[in-house]
Amino acid sequence: MIAPIQATSLGKRFGRTWALRDCSIRVPAGKIAGLVGPNGAGKTTFLNLVARLLEPTTGEVRVFGRSPRAQLMLLLDRMGYVAQDTPLYPSFTVSDMLAFGRRLNSRWDQAFAEQRLRRVEIPMEKQIRHLSGGQQSQVGLALALGKRPELLILDEPVARLDPLARREFMQGLIEAVAEDGTSVLLSSHVIGDLERVCDYLIIISQGRVQVAGDIDALLGSHHLLVGPRVDDSVRPPGVDVVKASHTERQSSLWVRGAVPHMPDGWREEALPLEELVITYLSVPGAAALPRPELEEVPA
């Protein structure tokens, strides 16, 4: 199965600032992937590069194996994208927005889009400017889903929503993609949003990818070990130390790898996903990924 997103040494510079540097990741098909990182880390830049709104400065990103300029139309038909703050036309009605989607896309499932909006009770004749933030997000999502895309990209879709709207949005999203196995990539700076919903995680910090992998694998391979104070240079065998923190009496080591046995006085503490992410974000130089193999795609 062709990976929906494959980036190789992807980099983007704005003026003299590098928003993204040397990013190589492969997002596998059929997953709901979460893109997490602090504000300004480069999440939006990455998503815009995938959506072809930006051109890379270095490297390339292939969507469904297609190289940048080739057959842009095919790409846009198979990919749904909702930008940050869900841009819509304020004077359009909801049904106008769906007509917009219908007219500009060759593959359009009007019934599916309408059904999604009916589920969240959004009236078709209301103007976009009179909808709440949560309702606008739902319209943006319906617009992207109406294309029945194979890849759905959402840039901080719930950032501005209240908790109820956030939950409803996620529910709607997952329900819509559960059947088709649509690949999803959504970004957030709130890890809790992603934890329930994602099975693949990408951590971006200061323009670089720190981590990319299945969440189960990440949780399984990372451990927090706590024990008596050791020297900072101590490295347990067979694991990589992501972060070490010491008090007078105690040392905490965040490690990656298989822990064969626990020496005396050491124990393992819980390391939930949110803590894992924060650990990496607090150590900008740490990275946990091998360079992915690039698939060769027939042109």
Binding site: L53, D77, F92, A99, L104
Partner: protein, 296 residues
């Protein structure tokens, strides 16, 4: 895409149509009143009858509403219709919506420009024709040069140029209001530049020379439909220039002043319109390049 363009710009279109219709009606009305004026047409001047229609027409003529309107309108059209075409999408972020649908940016921009510009250009075409009709009501050899910018090919070409400039500037700047300001400034520079520097010289002006300095006036009489492109210059018997700008000098032997004759009017309209159209095409091409290659 056609439906989308119409839906996005229909309000704008309604306004433009209303203003254009109003302007056309005003010009047609003044032309009609001139035509029926019973005071007999005087060369190059207005004369209206005394009834209420004539009075209204006289008021309109006094304010030169239709004349100045026609000079300023292309600039405003370019700013208010051309600039926001792309700039508004960028500043509102809706370009991230529009450019991730199944339509290329090229097609998106070309359809938008075509469906917005072409109907808009009908208005300067109509009012430009009406203006020519109006001028023809004045005297047996009416002077079209005085209203060069208000005639049909020029009104269309200058509006087209303004629109093209607006789209390009809007695409580069990405914000409507600053783009409008820049567009207006650039438009004025180009138009004034062309009118002052280019227009007098598209074809070498004819020199009018007279040795009869007693009856000489500047501009000379007998050329009701000419355009005098410079001040009279006086020369002495040996051909040396004594002064430019008419100042009577006792040593002056003859005076020279240059003009463009009336029968060159339409040729000049064509030339300047063509220049503006080529510039418009260049800016449209640039806008297309910028939108398809550069913008994020």
């Amino acid at each position: 895409m056609s439906w989308v363009t119409w839906r996005q710009h229909r309000l704008e279109g309604a306004w433009t149509l209303a203003i254009g219709a109003l302007l056309a009606a005003a010009i047609a009305f003044v032309a009609y009143e001139l035509h029926v004026a019973s005071c007999g047409a005087i060369a190059n001047d207005y004369c209206f009858s005394d009834d209420i229609g004539g009075k209204i027409a006289q008021g309109l003529a006094r304010f030169n509403l239709y004349q100045y309107g026609l000079v300023v309108l292309p600039a405003l059209t370019g700013a208010f219709i051309g600039c926001p075409l792309v700039a508004r999408e960028i500043e509102n972020g809706t370009h991230r919506l529009a450019w991730t649908q199944g339509v290329t940016r090229l097609r998106w921009l070309v359809v938008k420009m075509t469906l917005v510009f072409v109907p808009v250009l009908v208005i300067p075409a109509v009012v430009g024709i009406l203006e020519a009709v109006l001028i023809n009501q004045m005297g047996s050899r009416p002077n079209h040069w005085a209203v060069f910018d208000q005639h049909a090919p020029m009104t269309v070409a200058s509006t087209l140029f303004a629109l093209a400039l607006g789209v390009a500037v809007g695409a580069v700047i990405g914000r409507s209001i600053p783009a409008m300001a820049v567009t207006l400034v650039l438009f004025v520079i180009v138009r004034i530049g062309l009118a002052e520097l280019g227009r007098p010289n598209y074809v070498a002006p004819v020199a009018f020379t007279t040795h009869d300095l007693n009856t000489f006036s500047s501009p000379p009489v007998g050329f009701p439909d000419a355009w005098w492109v410079d001040q009279a210059s006086q020369y002495d018997a040996g051909g040396h220039l004594l002064s430019s700008g008419f100042k009577y000098s006792t040593q002056a032997a003859y005076a020279v002043q240059h003009y463009q004759p009336g029968d060159r009017f339409w040729q000049f309209q064509t030339i300047e319109s063509a220049i503006l159209t080529v510039l418009a095409a260049a800016f449209i091409g640039f806008a297309i390049y910028w939108v398809t290659r550069r913008v994020s």
